[in-house]
C-alpha cells in the first residue's frame, strides 16, 4: 500500500481539462473570423429547415395536394408563388433543403471515409502500397469526375432499378450519393497523405512501434488523431462541393422528382420553360438557397482551415 502515491495523478481529469482548454482556444480563434461565424449561422438555419421542414411549411405538396393554380406569381396566399402544377414554391424550397443537405452529408461522409483511409494507409505504409494507392488517386484526380458521374449514374440505376430503397432513401438519390462519393475522394486522400507523412516521422510514433503497437493500432490511435483537424476542415469544403455536384446532377435530370432537391426544382423550372416565361419566383428561391449554402460552407471551411491547419498560409 505504501507504494501508492499520496495524491494519485488524475490522468482522466487532466486530459479532460486539456480538451476543454483546447476547445476554448479554438472557439476564441474561430469567433474572431467574422466570415466563418456568418457562414456557421447560415448553416445552422438551413440545418433546422432540413431537420423538420414540415414544422415550417407543412407536408411536401404533390400534384394532388397542390394548393394553387399553375405558375402563379407571389401573392398573399403563396408568398413565393407556385410551380407549373400549382405547388407552393416556399413549401418545395424548404423541403428541398432536407433532400439537398442529406444527399450532401452522406456523399461527404463517403468521400471523407475513402479519402482518409486511403490517405492514412498510403502515407503510413509507404513503399509499394503507397505507390499503387497514389497511382489510383492520381487517376481519379485526373478523371473528369462530373462526366464519369453522368455515365455511372444511369448504369447503376438501370441495374438496381428506380424503385429500390435503402434506409428509406430512394435508389435515385442513393445512386447520386454513391456516385459523388466514389468520384470525389482523390483530393482528400492527397491532403491526408501528405499530413500523415509528416506525422509518422514524429517521436511518439516510433515509441508506439517500439513498445509493440501493431500498424493498425498506430494508424488508429496515433496517426488519425493528428490528422483529424485536417479532416474536419476538408469535410466542410467537401460538403460544399458535394452540394454543388448534387445540384448539377439533379439539374441535368438525374434527380428524383418525388423527393425534389434544389437542383431538381431548377430542373423542373427549366423543363417547364420558366426562364423564358419570366417566372423568376420559380427559379430565385432554390437558386438563392443553393448559392447561399455553398457559400456558407466555403466560408466556414476556409475559416476552419485557417484556425485548425498549422500550415495554412494566412496565419
Amino acid at each position: 500500500m505504501s507504494a501508492v502515491p499520496a495524491t494519485p495523478v488524475d490522468v482522466r481529469g487532466a486530459r479532460w481539462r486539456l480538451r476543454v482548454r483546447n476547445a476554448r482556444q479554438f472557439a476564441r480563434r474561430y469567433a474572431a473570423r467574422r466570415d466563418g461565424v456568418v457562414g456557421a449561422a447560415i448553416l445552422v438555419f438551413f440545418a433546422l429547415l432540413a431537420l423538420a421542414p414540415q414544422l415550417f411549411v407543412g407536408a411536401l405538396q404533390t400534384v394532388t395536394t397542390a394548393t394553387g393554380g399553375p405558375l402563379e406569381p407571389p401573392s398573399g396566399t403563396h408568398i413565393l408563388g407556385t410551380d407549373e402544377i400549382g405547388r407552393d414554391i416556399l413549401n418545395l424550397t424548404v423541403h428541398g433543403a432536407r433532400v439537398s443537405m442529406v444527399i450532401g452529408l452522406m456523399a461527404t461522409l463517403i468521400t471523407i471515409l475513402i479519402g482518409a483511409v486511403i490517405g492514412i494507409v498510403a502515407g503510413f505504409l509507404g513503399g509499394r502500397s503507397d505507390q499503387v494507392l497514389m497511382r489510383l488517386t492520381d487517376f481519379f484526380l485526373v478523371l473528369p469526375t462530373f462526366v464519369l458521374a453522368i455515365v455511372l449514374a444511369p448504369i447503376i440505376l438501370d441495374i438496381v432499378g428506380t424503385d429500390a430503397e435503402l434506409f428509406g432513401i430512394r435508389a435515385t438519390l442513393l445512386v447520386i450519393i454513391v456516385v459523388i462519393g466514389l468520384t470525389s475522394w482523390a483530393s482528400t486522400a492527397r491532403i491526408i497523405r501528405s499530413q500523415t507523412l509528416s506525422v509518422k516521422e514524429r517521436m511518439f510514433v516510433d515509441r508506439a512501434r517500439v513498445i509493440g503497437g501493431s500498424r493498425a493500432h498506430i494508424m488508429r490511435r496515433h496517426i488519425l488523431p493528428n490528422v483529424v483537424n485536417l479532416i474536419v476542415a476538408n469535410t466542410v469544403l467537401t460538403f460544399a462541393g458535394a452540394i454543388f455536384t448534387e445540384t448539377t446532377l439533379s439539374f441535368i435530370g438525374l434527380g428524383d422528382p418525388f423527393a425534389p432537391s434544389w437542383g431538381q426544382l431548377l430542373n423542373a423550372a427549366q423543363q417547364s420553360g420558366a426562364p423564358g416565361l419570366g417566372a423568376w419566383w420559380y427559379i430565385a428561391p432554390p437558386a438563392v438557397c443553393v448559392v447561399v449554402v455553398i457559400l456558407a460552407f466555403t466560408l466556414v471551411g476556409n475559416a476552419l482551415d485557417d484556425v485548425l491547419n498549422p500550415k495554412s498560409a494566412t496565419r
Partner: protein, 324 residues
C-alpha cells in the same frame, strides 16, 4: 527541360489514357441491354439464334484478352461504335457535329474569364484588406459558389424574357436565311452573348481567387521590397515584378481547367439550348444512348489528361525547380 522529365510525364499521360479506355470497356460490359440478357427473355429467340448473335458481336469469345483487345484496337482506330438515338450514325460523327459550337463558346468564355479573372485577382490581392478587395473577393466567392445554370437562368429572365435584348435559346435563328456574312454574324453574336456571359462569369471567380492568393504570397517576397526600395511606382511593381511571378500557379490552373471546361459547361449549354457537347450529353443521357455517352467520356477524359500533361510541361519549363 530534361528528357527524363518529359519521358516520365508522357508515360504517366499514356498510362492514364489506357486506364480510361479500360474503364470504358468495363462500363460497357456492366450496361444493361446486352444480347445475353435481353434474348433469353424472348421466347421466340431460339438458342441457335442467340448463339449466332453472340458470335456476330464477338460475345462468345472470352472477355479478357479477346474482347478487350478488340475493343482497344477499334478505339485506337477511332471506331467508337454507333449511336442508338441517331440511328446508324457513328459516334465519332455525332460528337464531331457538336464539337465546334462548344469550342467556340468555351474558347471565347475562357479568354474573357482569364483576362478579367486574373486582373481582378491581381488587383484585389495587391490591395488586400482594402475596400476594393472586400468587394472584389466577396464577388469572386459568390460567383465561385454558383453553378452555371444558376447564373444563366436569371440572365434569361432579365435580358431575354424581360428586356428582350437577346434570344432565349439556340445558336442561330431557326430557318433564317442570311443575305450576307454580316447578318449571319449578328445573329450568331446575339445568340452567343448570354451563354458567353454565363460561362465567363462562372469561371472568373475561380481564377480571381487563385490569383489573389498567389499575388498575396508574392507580395511578401524580398525582390518586391527591393523594387520598392529602388523607388518604382506601385503600379510598375505590380505589373512587372509581382504579376509575372504570381502567374505561375495560375498558368497551371488554366491549363488544367481547359481540359475540364468542356465537361463543366454542360449545364450552361442546356439552359440556352446551345447545340454543343453539353446538350448532346443530356440528350444521350435521356435516351440512354450509352455509346455516345462513352464517346463523350473518352473525349473529355483524354482532353483532361492532355491538358494536365501540357500543364506539367509548361510548369516544368517556367519553374526549373519542379523538373527534378
Amino acid at each position: 527541360m530534361s528528357a527524363r522529365y518529359l519521358a516520365r510525364q508522357s508515360a504517366q499521360a499514356i498510362f492514364t489514357i489506357l486506364m480510361i479506355v479500360l474503364l470504358n470497356f468495363l462500363l460497357f460490359r456492366m450496361m444493361p441491354g446486352s444480347p445475353d440478357r435481353v434474348n433469353p427473355r424472348n421466347p421466340n429467340v431460339t438458342v441457335e439464334q442467340r448463339d449466332a448473335a453472340r458470335a456476330r458481336w464477338g460475345l462468345d469469345k472470352p472477355l479478357i484478352p479477346d474482347q478487350l483487345v478488340a475493343f482497344v484496337g477499334s478505339t485506337l482506330q477511332g471506331d467508337l461504335g454507333y449511336s442508338i438515338k441517331f440511328q446508324g450514325q457513328p459516334v465519332t460523327e455525332v460528337i464531331g457535329d457538336r464539337f465546334m459550337p462548344t469550342i467556340l463558346l468555351i474558347g471565347l468564355a475562357e479568354l474573357i474569364a482569364i483576362i478579367l479573372g486574373l486582373a481582378l485577382g491581381a488587383y484585389t490581392g495587391w490591395r488586400r484588406g482594402g475596400l476594393a478587395d472586400r468587394i472584389g473577393n466577396g464577388l469572386s466567392l459568390i460567383l465561385y459558389s454558383m453553378p452555371y445554370f444558376v447564373i444563366g437562368m436569371p440572365l434569361i429572365i432579365i435580358f431575354a424574357a424581360g428586356l428582350g435584348w437577346f434570344p432565349t435559346s439556340g445558336m442561330l435563328t431557326a430557318g433564317a436565311t442570311y443575305p450576307g456574312p454580316v447578318e449571319f454574324l449578328t445573329d450568331l453574336l446575339s445568340h452567343l452573348a448570354l451563354p458567353l456571359a454565363t460561362i465567363s462569369l462562372g469561371l472568373i471567380g475561380g481564377y480571381s481567387i487563385l490569383m489573389r492568393s498567389s499575388i498575396t504570397e508574392t507580395r511578401a517576397e524580398d525582390y518586391i521590397a527591393t523594387a520598392r526600395a529602388k523607388g518604382l511606382t506601385d503600379g510598375r511593381i505590380l505589373r512587372s515584378h509581382a504579376f509575372p511571378n504570381a502567374l505561375l500557379p495560375a498558368v497551371t490552373l488554366i491549363a488544367i481547367n481547359l481540359g475540364y471546361v468542356v465537361g463543366g459547361a454542360i449545364t450552361a449549354e442546356i439552359v440556352f439550348n446551345w447545340p454543343g457537347l453539353g446538350t448532346l450529353t443530356v440528350d444521350a443521357l435521356d435516351s440512354r444512348d450509352y455509346p455516345v455517352l462513352q464517346g463523350i467520356f473518352l473525349l473529355l477524359g483524354v482532353s483532361v489528361v492532355l491538358a494536365n500533361f501540357v500543364a506539367d510541361i509548361v510548369y516544368g519549363y517556367l519553374d526549373p525547380r519542379v523538373r527534378q
